[in-house]
Symmetry: C2
């Protein structure tokens, strides 16, 4: 899918010409664009205040508040893209699963899929229906965002959604998930098929509502061997990306994916997100003609500014000004990260990558 052949209206020019969108298309930019996964989150006092009065899911489902949280982070930090405040698991409810965010414990699915028969009771979401609060939040965010700031929509990638559905919560060893892959490959195929049908409708509806880019989060995919990824995951992820509306860049991100990068690129994504475990230059040399997003260790934000700037400079040097680098963390901003350090990071990326100063 080419990102260059789609005609755009004049009103879309502002964000189409933004450094972030140019970097997605691997065009030259005046500086390296930067945004951060979980840039709106617990580390911000304003967010914690909102969360004191609203549960996490309520915040996701209240489109006014979701838009407010999304836009506030952009204003506070001066980042080059917004990402919708939402969660990868909101999709599982209209598919028939009972989701809860237990206090302090992270998400729990009360009726996980453990056997082949369980897969049959899962619904596909047609055309993204049942998630109108997400599209409302996108419309409201788009309205409140400055015109030159692109908005990123997102969803969980097929493997990560499947593993949440099967394990019912975060997992260390993914035994139930891998057992279904190995011992019930037909059930795995039916599950992944329902997931990708739902994802395609969901992501395209986000784009129709006003998202300029979408990111697929494959948070758990790093638990797989390359062989298993190739056999059980790659074909499905590729179908999702092929199903996304022409002209919308797709960012594909996972952690602990050092040995999967070539296969992940084969999904057809336009931007590949990498974590700090890989050297940015070595990773980019391996994957070739695709944009790259990353890859500061979020723990570095607990250090003081000189160490943050030293590591930013190292990553920018590795990218060597090559078009197509989007600066980000290798994982979401961690709770308790000092907001001042996050702002210092954004400023450092802008300043140290400014091409007009070279």
């Amino acid at each position: 899918m080419s990102l260059r052949e789609v005609p755009v209206s004049v009103s879309a020019r502002l964000w189409q010409d933004s450094p972030f969108m140019k970097a997605c298309r691997r065009e030259a930019t005046p500086f390296t664009p930067v945004w951060l996964m979980r840039q709106a989150g617990r580390y911000m006092k304003e967010y914690r205040d909102l969360r004191d009065r609203n549960s996490f899911l309520d915040l996701c489902k209240d489109s006014d508040l979701a838009a407010e949280v999304t836009v506030y982070a952009v204003q506070r930090l001066g980042v080059d893209a917004a990402i919708l405040f939402s969660d990868i698991l909101v999709l599982v409810e209209p598919m028939g699963l009972m989701l809860e965010y237990a206090k302090g414990d992270g998400p729990v699915i009360h009726n996980p899929l453990r056997m082949a028969a369980d897969v049959s009771r899962l619904s596909s979401v047609k055309d993204g229906s049942g998630l109108e609060f997400v599209y409302d939040a996108i419309r409201k965010t788009r309205k409140d965002l400055p015109g030159h700031i692109p908005l990123i929509g997102f969803a969980g990638a097929p493997f990560t959604l499947a593993s949440y559905m099967i394990e019912g919560k975060g997992s260390r060893h993914f035994i139930h998930t891998k057992s279904m892959m190995y011992t019930e490959p037909d059930a795995w195929h039916r599950l992944m098929t329902k997931i990708i049908q739902s994802l395609i409708g969901y992501l395209n509806a986000q784009i129709s509502a006003g998202a300029q880019v979408v990111q697929l989060f494959d948070s758990w995919v790093g638990c797989l061997s390359p062989q298993d990824y190739q056999k059980y995951v790659l074909p499905y992820t590729r179908q999702v990306i092929q199903g996304i509306q022409e002209g919308t860049p797709v960012i594909y991100f996972g952690t602990e994916t050092a040995t999967l990068l070539e296969l992940m690129k084969d999904t057809g994504c336009h931007v590949l997100g990498v974590d700090w475990r890989v050297e940015l230059d070595a990773a980019w040399a391996r994957i070739g003609d695709v944009a790259i997003q990353g890859n500061l260790d979020p723990a570095v934000l607990f250090a003081e500014t000189p160490e943050i700037r030293r590591q930013v400079r190292r990553i920018l040097d590795q990218a060597a000004g090559r078009p197509g680098h989007i600066f980000n963390l290798g994982h979401g901003v961690l709770p308790n990260t000092p907001v001042g350090h996050v702002k210092a990071l954004i400023d450092a990326v802008h300043e140290l990558s400014d091409r007009s100063l070279k």
Copy 2:
């Protein structure tokens, strides 16, 4: 350090000529030797019965029981090496930390090291003292093991021990550990120095008691970027390995280490353990002249025998009969793994690698 120049007594010939020891030295073997991390553990009914009557730490500290558990696993499975039943954290008690295994929660250190000043109250263990129960267990195990079965002693690697001491328990993001690295490098250096002094004495005392090989477990090292590993970890791990008694092979193992392998080899280890996230052949090509240990995903043991055998064959094919491959999992045997599947794995490795059948 060469493994070939040390004279051995006639009584040591039996284990010195075993396939496992030969593979450590990268000599040809009649079949691929195999052992499994946590080969004695919760997945075995006999072990669970013992644990019903003894806490985990009591089992580690009762040298009769530790030896019994160690030897039983070898007899039950037919593996080619024994590994002492113990835990990497027993070393932290004589160093001054309060260790507890809370039921279902894993290890907890009640007085973790959070600030530079905390490091001062940590003791170095001189000559491995305070851990006589470990050496007793080694002597008893060595006496009960068949002469041709080598016994592996072990310890936590410096980074993993440091991160347990700082975090006080398992961690996902290692914020306290990385914060000390970045913001208090002097304290980090003092901590790592105390750890490596203790480790050298501890491992050499295990060897004096009768261990033929030692393994360093760097369970958490995969959370680091290559730059941070090189700066904050590699020099210390190398010193430990340099301090180990001449002639004893050192296996160095971690998980999620795909981007660290070259640096880990630079520690001077003789065998490098890899997990299933890397392709064995690609990993071995990168690290060159060192033996390799791995790398089946332990979750595969929940599949039936044909899938287990298929994956064993793939790994053996990747090793291509090159001397210096020790078959293992890429992580410990998981709880609830069917014992019959574990036995099927051992048999499959022996049968499918038998050079006399080729």
